[in-house]
């Protein structure tokens, strides 16, 4: 493959209009990578919760602290956004909602659904 060194490169991210379908797709990756970064913290918390009555109480207290609640809400947004956009990808694999209008509607539905779950969680936890 011969690259043309003089080909025009135009990647002004502020000038590129990202459609809602593209935003869902990018966020699926971003939330996935962020969720993976949270795995060590989640495993540490899980392990602590199995270390006797005191470990369990510590894990609960950590989650119930203001910082813990905030982290939980952020994690819930990450996971629900990734869950719903993943579900959308699986449906697209089955050729469901591939046409542009449907793809835009399902992308909007993903944002609404994850926002609804996150707001509900924030209302209960914060």
């Amino acid at each position: 493959m011969q690259n043309n060194k003089h080909r025009p490169v135009y990647l002004n991210l502020l000038a590129i209009h990202l459609p809602i379908t593209g935003l869902v797709s990018v966020l699926h990756r971003v939330t996935g990578v962020l969720a993976l970064l949270l795995v060590p913290a989640a495993l540490a918390l899980l392990q602590r919760s199995f270390e006797g009555e005191s470990g369990y109480a510590q894990a609960r207290a950590l989650l119930a602290s203001p910082a813990g609640r905030l982290a939980a809400v952020v994690a819930i947004w990450l996971m629900t956004q990734h869950f719903f956009s993943g579900l959308r990808h699986l449906l697209l694999d089955l050729d469901i909602g591939v046409a542009l209008a449907g793809a835009r509607r399902s992308a909007a539905a993903v944002f609404l659904a994850s926002a609804a779950v996150t707001l509900l969680a924030a209302w209960r936890l914060l």
Partner: protein, 118 residues
């Protein structure tokens, strides 16, 4: 470079399929565990331990943790392949992520099979 140098096409399909299968398990287990905890909240240590250390649930938890790590590997792999050039940082980044995920997998096994032992 000819198409032959790009490797087996089936290997890519296997990864694609594994990503979908792991996604289904992760979604199913997450949904089940979330609903279980919301409908009948666990409030003390004996109940928490009893819920997760029972035979089937313990195995399902182990599969969930390992599946999450495999799914994470497949996802990060496609991100690295898209944004890092071959031969450059892609190899080192893949090795680093792979070793990190291997450590997480061993840690998960330790949690389920040692910390959660009956």
């Amino acid at each position: 470079m000819s198409a032959r140098d790009l490797g087996s096409a089936r290997a890519g399909l296997n990864g694609w399929l594994a990503q979908r299968i792991t996604a289904l398990y992760l979604a199913g287990f997450s949904l089940f565990a979330t609903l279980r905890l919301l409908l009948d909240p666990i409030t003390d240590y004996p109940a928490w331990r009893a819920w997760l250390s029972g035979g089937a649930m313990r195995l399902a938890l182990a599969v969930f943790l390992l599946t999450a790590i495999v799914h994470g590997w497949l996802g990060v792999r496609s991100v690295l392949m898209d944004y890092l050039h071959p031969g450059g940082w892609r190899f080192s980044a893949s090795v680093a992520v792979g070793l990190g995920l291997l450590a997480l997998a061993l840690w998960s096994v330790q949690i389920v099979f040692w910390d959660l032992r009956p």
